[in-house]
């Protein structure tokens, strides 16, 4: 392979004020598995969607087989041999596997004979990838892993030379992931180029030849896979040396535990929390680090009382709060900032004023005055810089970052005993993120226990009093900030225990 299949040079893409790809250059070679590693929002999916012509780049060039190319649509990209399997599958659940594969082939005829060359062509890859899937089965009856294989067969049917897989293992069980790794290696052995977009270190270890790490829209590391340890990759992914200018929160004055989490185990459809125990004093900030998808969000929901604990308990100020979210007393003393605010923090059908009043909803008068709610909302929106500042807008009209600010305005503008923040700075620019941190630290200064889940290890190391690392639903260890060692944290993130490494 003298010449790379694909060369991207100086790709730039901007979404509003966010620079998603900043001067990114890379090559993709046949016969090689390239892992594109990075945290959520690092720009790796955006980059590949530009190659696949779903997005148009704002700058830069794409060479395919050494020739400059610009595709107008994914259809043209596919014709040039570039195929992409997305996190959301594009299969019709009601149709059979064969029907889905046939529909994806170009130039579908009016009538489809049962045993034609087309049918053979459609099944060519499926029989190799997954001989145990019956082509007559309806897609809705397949498991997620099987659907992914069908999706992959669909892409390969179009003679893809470059196969891009977007977070393929995020929906798979470990066994299914193992099988997928096998196929990926086979594809590369046959000379195809495979791009694996991922934030999981396990994916890298299993099948990557070369690694490119992205952070904040730029490439921060590129190396052959065997030259990088998991710890080095975590470092590259979450970054170091970004110095915050906020004052470091003062140490808690008392050591009497206010929040006690004991042997907490919980599960919601997949992600789980296993035997998590910790204690927090008033005013203490516990940072929870870890590669995302290791149970952090479930832990947050369980602490907030939204997910029932199967065993264990959460005690706040002497009162058990596990699975008691709809208890009015708890609604008043817990502040919760979930991930994906549109799904988890607001009611899309209600306007912003009502969404802002939700935490107080139980204490509103029997007949709340609209004016009062709107005036309060206006004040909050001004203070937290939610734009546009129009309380009558529907919640779905706001951008992600502004929605996050709205949620933070609602949750952190009142005095709480427990603050649970799940990636609170996600989607925010540096200034807005600092404003959020300031509010969070103010709550701690006022005596709240703060559980702060983040992927920004640097931020946790700068501000949290103690840092816990979650891996596979369990807490690998908790250290005080002063004693924290990046190497140790990185090892914990990669799943190696205290003694194992």
């Amino acid at each position: 392979m003298a010449e790379p299949l694909v060369t991207l040079s100086a790709i730039r893409k901007q979404f509003g004020s966010v620079l998603a790809n900043d001067d990114v250059s890379l090559t993709i070679n046949g016969g090689e598995v390239l892992a594109l590693l990075g945290e959520n929002g690092a720009g790796k999916s955006t980059l590949m969607k530009i190659l696949y012509a779903l997005y148009a780049a704002d700058g830069g060039t794409i060479l395919i087989d050494g020739r400059p190319t610009s595709f107008a649509s994914p259809r043209e990209a596919m014709a040039a041999g570039i195929g992409m399997v997305f996190q959301q599958f594009s299969l019709v659940p009601a149709l059979s596997v064969l029907e889905n594969l046939l529909a994806a082939l170009p130039g579908a005829p009016w009538l489809q004979p049962r045993r034609s060359a087309r049918v053979q062509a459609a099944l060519r890859w499926l029989t190799r990838l997954a001989p145990n899937i019956n082509p007559g089965t309806a897609v809705r009856a397949l498991s997620v892993g099987e659907r992914q294989l069908v999706e992959l067969a669909k892409v390969l049917n179009l003679n893809a030379r470059v196969v891009i897989l977007d977070e393929p293992t995020s929906v798979l069980t470990p066994a299914e992931a193992e099988r997928l790794y096998g196929f990926i290696r086979t594809l590369a052995a046959e000379g195809k180029a495979v791009v694996l977009i991922t934030h999981k270190l396990a994916d890298i270890a299993a099948c990557a030849n070369r690694i490119i790490v992205m952070r904040g829209g730029r490439i921060v590391d590129a190396a052959p896979a065997r030259e990088r340890s998991p710890e080095a990759l975590v470092d590259a992914m979450v970054g170091r040396g970004v110095v915050g200018s906020l004052p470091v929160p003062a140490a808690p004055t008392s050591h009497v535990p206010v929040l006690q989490v004991r042997g907490l185990t919980a599960q919601v459809q997949g992600p789980f929390v296993r035997h998590v125990s910790f204690e927090l004093a008033a005013g203490e900030i516990l940072g929870i680090a870890g590669v995302s998808g290791n149970g952090q969000f479930t832990l947050a929901e369980t602490l907030a009382g939204l997910v029932p604990a199967s065993t264990g308990d959460v005690v706040l100020d002497g009162v058990s709060i596990a699975s008691r979210a709809h208890d009015g007393a708890i609604a008043g003393s817990v502040a919760y900032i979930p991930e994906r605010p549109l799904d988890n923090a607001v009611v899309a059908e209600l306007d912003l004023a009502l969404n802002l009043s939700l935490r107080e909803a139980r204490r509103l008068p029997l007949f709340p005055r609209r004016e009062t709610i709107v005036r309060r909302a206006e004040a909050l929106m001004a203070r937290y810089d939610v734009r546009p500042p129009r309380p009558a807008l529907g919640a779905s009209a706001l951008s992600g970052g502004n929605l996050q600010k709205l949620v933070i305005a609602r949750e952190l503008s009142r005095k709480a005993k427990l603050v649970i923040a799940c990636y609170p700075a996600m989607g925010l620019d540096v200034l807005a993120a600092q404003a959020v941190y300031r509010e969070m630290f103010r709550q701690a200064a006022d005596g709240a226990c703060v559980v702060w889940i983040s992927e920004e290890l640097d931020d946790l190391l700068s501000y949290a009093h103690r840092i816990a690392v979650m891996h596979d639903g369990a807490i690998m260890g908790i250290v005080r900030r002063e004693d924290a060692d990046r190497q140790v944290l990185g090892r914990w993130m990669a799943g190696h225990g205290r003694n194992a490494a």
Partner: protein, 343 residues
Amino acid sequence: MNPSTSTKIIAVLGGVAAFLGTAAIFLAAIGRPPFATLMQMALYAFGDSYSLSESLVKATPILLCALSVILPARLGLITVGAEGQLYFGALTGTAVVVSYPAAPMIVLMPAMLVAGAAGGAFWSGVAGLLRARSNVNETISTLLMNYVAVLLVSYVIYGAWKDPTSLGWPATIPFPKAATVPSVFGTRAHAGLVVGIIAAVILHIAVTYARWGLALRVLAGNRKVASMAGFDFNRQTLLVMAIGGALAGFAGICETSAIQGRLQAGISVGYGLTGFLVAWLSGQHFLRAIPIAVLVGGLIAAGDALQLYAKVPSASATIMQGLLFAVALGASGLAGKRTTRHG
């Protein structure tokens, strides 16, 4: 005029025109002069005070049943149990009357009405409890409980409560004067109509302006966020199901007392299902359900009259009612499509 208002008006006018058109075709097909028959129907429905009162008589249980569907719908629940709740309310209300037929009006009347409403609330509350406790689909449970309630009524009127003087006719004793819901406006229309209208207005105000309405909207919109706000889905499910059931049960006992005068089979001619359709036609809106219930009541009354005087087959009125619902739902669906396309 904003586009959504104009769209709505077009939808209503288009729906009315389409209904008249299809009804005319149907009448022509069964050999009736379409225009004259439609005119006659309008007269039979609302032409004089007697017709009007008959229409209001029909509209009363339909309105109450529609309200019993709309309230759970505000929480995102779909119940089809108004018919069963109506029957069960009639049963429990009648239980009071057959137990103490000689009680004075001041005791018997309120006891009967409260028992009727409580019966409906219980019957609906069972479905609500099943949903809240075990996540049993409320549409299926209310549907099945309809059959149970209707058969329970048959059981008592053929058995324990059968009036021995009725010469084998399956019915209870006639209700005494003290247990007869008074009529209003000097017509056959009874006080149930007034209660229905007042209930519609109160419920409208409660879900539109009260904190309770906010709770229902939040719960219907995002259960997780509702939890954070401290709203309890299970409690509200029980509450809306019970209130809805009470209204349908009240309709049942009023119908039994004021119109039938005794509990017998067939106290309802599909009022529960008709109420469900009225609720959907109103867009689950309490106040809009009032005129729609009156219109549909008029159509049913006119159908009865046509059958008597114009010798039109009895099924015709039901067919035309079906046409009305199909056309109205189609028209509102088309209007919705138009709105999304423009919006």
